[in-house]
Structure formats: C-alpha cells, structure tokens
Amino acid sequence: MRNKVTGYRRPAPGTQPDYLFAPYASTVKRAPTQPLVMLPHTLTEATGPVFGHDEVKPGDADLTRQHKAEPIGERIIVSGRVLDEDGRPVAGTLVEIWQANSAGRYPHRVDQHDAPMDPNFTGCGRALTDKKGRYRFVTIKPGEYPWRNHYNAWRPAHIHFSLFGPAFVTRLVTQMYFPGDPLLERDPMFNCVPDERARNRLISEFDWDTTIPETALGYRFDIVLRGPAHTPMER
C-alpha cells in the first residue's frame, strides 16, 4: 500500500505560544513538563470533521437576536475571511465564537465580576464560512473586565474564536481584539508570543465597508489556518 499524505506546515518561530508562559499564571500548573514527542502527520492528522447546515443555522450568527429584546451595548459587525497559509479560502468550515456582554460579564457560574448580567445576551454564536471563506457575525462590543492573574489585571475587550479547518492539525482557538485598546500592552495572553507582527494580527481592523449606516460599526478579522506543506510527505 502506498499512500501520500500531505502534511501541514510547522509554525514560523515566535508566532505560536509555548505551553509554559509564566506571566499567564495558570500555565504554571498546567503546562507539560516532559518534552513533547514530534508527531509525523499521518492520515489521522491530515483529516478532520466536516460540519453542515443541519447543525448551524443562519440565525446563529446574530448574537443580538437570541432573546426577547436586544442586548445593551454597541452593535457591531464582525466579519472576515478564513484563509490557509497559501492565501486560499477555507470554505464551509465551522467558526464558533463566545464573548462577554457589554459590561464585561459572562453568563457563567465561574464569573463573579461585579458587573450587570444582560438577560438579552448569551454571547455565543457560530457560522459556516462561504465559498470564499467569508464569515459574518452581528454582535455587541464586549466589555473589558478584571481577572486575578496579577495585581490590577484587566483583559482587553476580546471575542473568542474556535475554528476547525480541513484537518485535525488545522484546529485553532484564538481571540480577536479591538484596535486602539490601551489594555493590550499589559495583557499576558496577547503578549504570549515574541513576534510583534503575529501579535498584531490578533487585532481586528475597523472596517468602513462593512459598517451599516445608522445601525452598526464594522470590524474585520481575517484568520489564517495552517496550510499544507508544499512537498507531499512520502508514505
């Protein structure tokens, strides 16, 4: 039996975090201490689940219409493209998002931040990318909030993103930030990689083109998933 499996590219140095990053205190007791074992990309790693429209409905991408009334906050459009490292669109892939409400509070038992809940906002959405790799969410701008990582620690406003892509190894969970946020320079999560350009790609761009007059401002966030290695690995 001869099988050629195209593996996926390894990250450029400094663009992906290590497991242990002491400024983010929770990594200390959760990061592996033994060396990782280098795993060749076999059929297991080069394939992945496909999700369909039976699971994701169009309304799932509008986080402002999930309850009886609209949530409080500044309505925004968050859109962008999902591409691979060759710039090719990743079509039909599942994008899941979650975020705090406009006051910086999550409807979650663990969140004890003294900020109001919003009965009209859950903060959870999902979408499938179209043929050009595009996705689009309607939501409200999330608030900043304090956390207990260090003295006077605050998270910049952010939206969590979870993506699948075509393979087990293209799975990505990340966070989208907002331009001009003064908290970014003090945030251990945002600063978890040394490559400044990589960090800055986590910041969405204000996008006049997707702004809806008298309704919502637009932010654009393009996401790049790992691309195939150029030389198929001989198997």
């Binding site: 959760r30 592996p32 060749p40 790693e45 992945g48 959870c124 969970v173 198997r235």
Partner: protein, 177 residues
C-alpha cells in the same frame, strides 16, 4: 502568497458558553458497525487537582479504518465536570495507514483545551492488549517508559479508563504536531 497561521490563544475559563452546544459524547448511533467502547477519564493538573474547565475533542476512523464516513463522522467533544471527568461512547476504530506505508494500531486522536493553555494539547488514545500496539510507528517514537500513558486501561465493568495527567509522575505524553 504566503501567510502565517494565526496565533493561538487560550479558550479561557468560559469556554462552555461557546462550545457546549456541540457536545458529542455518543459518537456511534445504533446500527453503526464496530465494537462498542466506553472511554472515560479525568484531567488532573500539577497539584493533582481535577481540571473542571476543559474540553476534550476526539477524532477517529470508523471500524474499517476510514475517516469521515457517512453514518459515522468520528468527531466527539466532551466538557469536563466538577471532578475533571470526560466521557465518550464510540466504536473501536480500524487500522489506518501511517508513515512508511505501515498500518498504525487502532487509535483516537485527542485535542485538549483549557484555561492555562495558550494552545491545545495533542495526545492519542490506544487500546489495551491490542496486538498491533507493539508495531505502531507512532508509539515507537515515544520513550518506552512513557508509552503506557497513551494506552487506555480496561476497568472491571469493561469500559476503558484514560486519564490526562498534565504534570508529574505518569505525565501523559503530548505531541508536537
């Protein structure tokens, strides 16, 4: 055009809000061919404390060793409970090709997400007493004294236990992939 993959960030403590709509702990409907297996386990951190805020995702082939088949997608997602436990009901996968055209032993790929991890942990579950384990090309890459951390243990009830130990004695093998 060459781009760089977006930097990974942690799922944080509120992952349930975004991810629990797609909990799939029962992967195989009635009628899907294959040997039924129940796999459960516990995640513990470097202090031995259960990790109650993690999501575990699995990806596996069907009983014939084929990925992404109609009727058996092969994807599962579980969120840990207060005791750090996750669970799946599935079928034992068939063998799939590995490097050098050698067949791999039956295995399940695992992605683990939690607060305190800036990117997912990657591991594999292998099956106890499978004669193919000895010749598995991926297990062969793992130091012999750590291989047992990738092989589930059979319980008295016949289900499989596979724990995820983040640090210390019997620390689970995680892959750079």
């Amino acid at each position: 055009m060459t781009l760089q993959a977006t930097t990974s960030q942690t799922v944080g403590p509120y992952l349930h809000i975004g991810l629990t709509w797609l909990i799939i702990e029962n992967l195989a409907r009635a009628g899907v061919p294959g040997e039924r297996v129940s796999i459960q386990g516990c995640i513990v951190d470097g202090e031995g404390k259960p990790v109650d805020d993690a999501a575990v995702e699995i990806w596996q082939a069907d009983a014939k060793g084929k990925y992404g088949q109609k009727g058996f997608r092969g994807f599962g997602r579980s969120a840990t409970d207060a005791k750090g436990r996750f669970r799946f009901k599935t079928i034992k996968p068939g063998r799939v090709p590995g490097p050098d055209a050698k067949l791999q032993a039956p295995h399940i790929a695992v992605n683990i997400f939690m607060r305190g991890q800036l990117k997912q942990l990657v591991s594999r579950i292998y099956f106890p007493d499978d004669p193919a384990n000895g010749g598995d090309p991926v297990l062969a890459l793992v130091p012999a004294k750590r291989r047992h951390t990738l092989i589930a243990r059979k319980t008295k009830s016949g289900s499989l236990d596979w724990n995820i130990v983040l640090q210390g004695k019997d620390e689970t093998v995680f892959f750079d992939c």
